[in-house]
Structures are given as C-alpha cells and as structure tokens.
C-alpha cells in the first residue's frame, strides 16, 4: 500500500528493509548513528540530517560509526564487498569524496574488469549533493558527472521519494559499486511510496511529463524546476516532455533520443558546472545520433563555471531556475 512519506524516510525505509532481508547489508559512516563513546544518547544523530535515524537500534551491530577517515572506511566497505558483504558507506557530503577518490575510482570501479570478471564489488556509497543550503564551495557540489565518467561505477540520482526507495534497494542488490546521490534540498519532499519492498532497474529513465514540442532532460533536483517551468510553458501553449534519467550511469539513451526525435528540440537541465557535465554529455549524444531530427540548437541550462558561492544572492543566481529553463525552451521554439 502506498502512503505519503518524505524522500528522507524513503531512504531510511529502503535501508531498513534491505538490512532485514539480508544480514550482509551493513551501514557505515561518520555519525550514521552518533553518540559512540559519549556519555549521552546513542543514535544521537542518525546521520547529519537524521536520514539513518533508528536503524542503529533495529539492526544491532550493523550500523557502524567510523572515525573521520574516509579513505579508511570507504576502502574497508569496498574490501568487505569483495568478500560478499553488501556495505552501504555514507560519505555525508559528496564533496568529501575528494578525500577517498582513489578507493572509489582506482579500486572499486576497476576490480571486475581488471580482474577479468573474477570479482564483484556490491558496495553502495551514499552522499548528499547540491546547492541551496548556503553551505558554500566545499559542501554544495553535484559531482555525479565525475563518477559517471568512470567505467565500472553506477551512478544514481533520484528526484523523488518513490525513486529514492526503489533505486536504493536496487543499488544494494546490484553487484557493482554504486554511487547513490541524494539532493539535500529534496529530503523533505513528500510523495507516494509503497510500504512493500520494490526495486527500480537501472538505466530506465522516467517520462515525468509527456509533450510534443520540446524535450527537457533534467537531473535530480532539476526535475522539480523543469516541472515548474513546464507548467508555466503549458499556459503559453508550449508542451514539454520531461525526462528524468534517474541513473546517469547506465544512461537510458533510448528514451531520451526517441523523445528528441519526436519533439525535435532538446533542453538539458543540470545543476552542476557546465563543462564536461551531464548536460554537455547528453547534448553531445543527441547532436551525434539524432541530428537530423533537430529543429533548433540544443540548449543547456546549468550552474556556472565557478565554485558554488556562499551568499544567498549569489547562490540563487548560481542554481538553474525555472525562469532560465523557460527562456531556454522558448528560444528553441522561436528558432527559425
């Protein structure tokens, strides 16, 4: 039965259900419980924003707090995965991947191929990403494009509670390393989520809205902004089709390209910096494969080629807005 819960609760529920189903599933990270060794409450935090709260008492011994040693514990999660555990390591902010990048992209990502298919690494690395919290340059990046670039990693960017639960369950059951990225501005978003367990396969985009004029591909939180824009554009008689890839690796190119063939126009919305981004990647794919269907130049709506600024006025300018998406869509319609 479906009922309304938040994105944050959906993630907690997915972890809880998978931990109950499979004793090999463990959760580790800094303050995923909190209170370790302290005189007060245990499970004092349940993650910095409370996402893993309650799991510590429900699954004794399997919610493991770590010292601040990302290379150490992320690497340990990867090692445990090599011998059949299914660890979910939490990196808190995706920006901290900088500290443990080697373990992820030289170790976990490479094993299966480099060892000639002799090993599997069913590890999940969860982290929050994105701007909007006035958290400044070292706590606001997106970085899914960096992981997407690395063969061997799967990259998941759920845009709503339903997808968050189903994709996290799939991530835990998947036998490859998965980077699971949660936009911090989505944690309070509510949506219909079934109580029972379900997995959403990777590489299947969702057509969030159907339309015949312009295709908008939007990543993560940008799906919401695209929906705002599409509702407004509808009033102007412009019918947008919104596609949420849900996983950037694997990427469902078929759904994206079929839509572009139908509409002839493409706008890609990506919160990250513009260079070597998902926006430029998807634009490149469309330009190469469905060039003949395009009626207008492809437009990319992205953040800027600058670190994420602190001050609210600058950060709001930095984040792609519905207004910018509307302008981009209009420009593809007006193109002659």
């Amino acid at each position: 039965m479906a009922r309304k819960i938040t994105y944050q609760q959906a993630i907690n529920e997915a972890l809880d259900q998978e931990m109950s189903r499979d004793q090999n599933v463990i959760v580790m990270g800094e303050d995923v419980a909190g209170g370790e060794g302290s005189p007060g409450e245990q499970d004092a935090w349940g993650g910095v924003l409370g996402v893993t709260r309650g799991l510590y008492h429900k699954h004794p011994g399997r919610v493991i707090d770590t010292p601040i040693s990302e290379s150490g514990y992320v690497g340990a999660a990867i090692g445990a995965a090599c011998v059949g555990m299914r660890p979910v390591a939490e990196l808190m902010f995706v920006d901290f991947l900088g500290v443990c990048f080697d373990q992820i992209f030289n170790q976990a990502a490479k094993f299966r191929y480099m060892f000639g298919g002799k090993s599997e690494t069913p590890v999940v690395i969860r982290a929050m990403y994105g701007a909007g919290f006035r958290a400044a340059a070292q706590h606001s990046q997106c970085l899914y494009n960096i992981f997407t670039h690395i063969p061997g990693l799967k990259v998941v960017v759920p845009s709503n509670p339903y997808d968050a639960k189903g994709l996290l369950i799939q991530s835990i059951r998947d036998n490859d390393p998965v980077i699971f990225l949660e936009h911090k501005a989505l944690y309070t978003m509510e949506g219909d989520v079934p109580e029972e367990s379900y997995a959403i396969p990777f590489g299947e985009a969702a057509v969030v809205r159907e339309g015949h004029d312009v295709t908008i591909v939007a990543i993560g939180r940008m799906v919401q902004k695209a929906q705002e824009a599409a509702a407004e554009l509808q009033k102007q008689g412009i019918h947008c089709e919104i596609i949420d890839p849900r996983t950037t690796s694997p990427l469902d190119t078929d759904t994206i390209l079929e839509s572009v063939e139908k509409t002839g126009r493409l706008v890609v919305v990506d919160e990250s910096h513009p260079r070597c981004s998902m926006a430029s990647d998807i634009a490149g794919l469309a330009a190469e494969r469905v060039f003949g269907s395009l009626k207008a130049p492809i437009r990319q709506v992205t953040g800027f080629h600058s670190p994420v600024p602190f001050s609210d006025t600058l950060e709001e300018l930095y984040i792609p807005s519905a207004a910018k998406i509307i302008a981009a869509v209009q420009s593809t319609k007006e193109y002659k």
Partner: protein, 324 residues
Amino acid sequence: MTKTLTREDLLKAYRTMRTIREFEERLHTDFATGEIPGFVHLYAGEEASATGVCMNLTADDHIASTHRGHGHCIAKGVDPVGMMAEIWGKKTGTCKGKGGSMHIADLSVGMLGANGIVGGGGPLVCGTALAAKLRNQPFVSVCFFGDGASNQGTIFEAMNLASVWNLPVIFLAENNGYAEATSSKFSVACDNIADRASAFGMPGITVDGFDFFAVYEAAGAAIDRARKGGGPSLVEVKLSRYYGHFEGDQQTYRAPGEVQAIRDTKDCLLQFARRVTSSGEITQAELDAIDADVKALIDGSVVKAKSDPKPTEADLLTDVYVSY
C-alpha cells in the same frame, strides 16, 4: 625559552579571548533568529587555545584552521568586522561574501583559511613551512585540527612529511572530546593524541586547554624550537566546546550539565581574570573596560553587517578564470 608576558601582553591576551567569546556568543544569539545563513560552528570555550598559540606568532607566520575557525581568525589578526559581514553573506565581508563562516581567510595576516574539509590544513602548512625553509626565513606554520581530524590520513601524512623534511610546523590538536556526535574516547585509539608524536619522530605534549598560560608556554616552546630549525612538534590541548557541533545541534550525546560544570569551574576567561587580578598585575576595572570595548566592537560589527550590501550578479563570476 618563551618570553615572559608583559602587562601589555596580558591585556592583549584577555582582549583577544574576550573578542572571540563575544563574537561567538553574539552569533549564537543571532543564529537563533534565523537570519544567519549556512553552517556556523562556534569556538566558544576554546579561546585559550587560539590565543595562547597566536600570541607566539607574527603576521609572517602562517596558520591553517578548521570549520570551527572564528577563534583562530581573530587570534591571528583577521578583522572581526569583516568576519561578521562575511558570515552574514555581505559584499563587505573578508571574502566578499563568497566563502562564509567555513572559509574565512586572510593571507595578509598569515591566515590560510578556515576549512570545510576536515584534515585539509595539515598538508597546506607543510607547504608554507617548506617555503619559509627554502627561503631561509624564520617563519613557522601552525595547523589547528580537532580530535576528529586527528584520524584523517592527511594529518598522518603531513606529520610524517614535516618530520622527514624537518619543517617548522606545529601540529596543534584541539581535543574538545567530540567530533560531531562521536566521542574522542571512541575515535582516537590511543589515550592522548600527543602519544602519536613519537611515531612520527617528533615531540608531543598534552596541556590543559582552559589555561591560557599552559597553552602559551607549551606552544611557545614548540614554536621556538621550530623557528630555530629544530623541526615539527605535536601539541595537544584538551578543552571543550560550549555549544553544539554546529548551531542547531541538540547535543543529546552529551551528559546533562556537562558544559555548565566546565563553564563554572574551568572557563578560560574566568581563570585568566582570577589569576591576573589576584597577582595584582591587572585590575578588575581594566578588564571591565576591555569587556565594554569589545562589546561595542561586536555590536557595531553586527549593525554594520546587517546593513551592508550583498554581492550582486556582477560578483558571481569574478575571482575565477571563466572560459565558458
């Protein structure tokens, strides 16, 4: 050895500690109104550490700080008025409102920056110290880091590097007992962080971080040694943070009354005032005058920060090489 403190030094130390306290207490109050954006980590309770260390430094020496950086900034000579504006996200801030609380930096006074990445500062001070060494300059570099950060690979690597290159670096571990909600009793595998020094071939010492004089002496000896080419040291100060990890933290992991007991008995300002007044070096009236001065300074900084302009669109793409 460490130079003896003059009356002026004592007044300066008290003023610095009081400025940090007032700055942080004010932020604590103002944060509760919801007007201050972002994450704010307060240094209240730890003033003797930054002050005791930085009283031994000049503007040519460098420090690297942490997410809990306001105290280090003030003690190293960063202007509190600019800092307040920065925290409020204003164009007049130390970093033009682009960095915020976690990224206040001022290279002109040797402050390499607060840091949003735990353990980020260790390697950086090896670089500033290497530069001083190669240029034959008598400058030292201090890396402040927490008990949590002490478990980060960057800190271990930096300690080893500083030792093998014989660099003028002081690793200043501020052990306040917690990293977020995790106790150092759990996260640090040895009894004292300073015990790790011997593994890196450097001296290590643990001191009472509520006692300005103890910090001043211990840090002074390490700094003196580094300046003379004696190489790096690890100094651990044990102290406590008076507020949550960040503003908004409910702190249920702490024991009830834990902070109050410390405030009542060990507070660094209380201890300092008691010692210098009972020795007759400074009068209570002099301390009161400093308190009033500092309060006016911080009040003024808030009034200014509130009315200062925010950065605008024209500022978005300055200070970055944009080719796109």
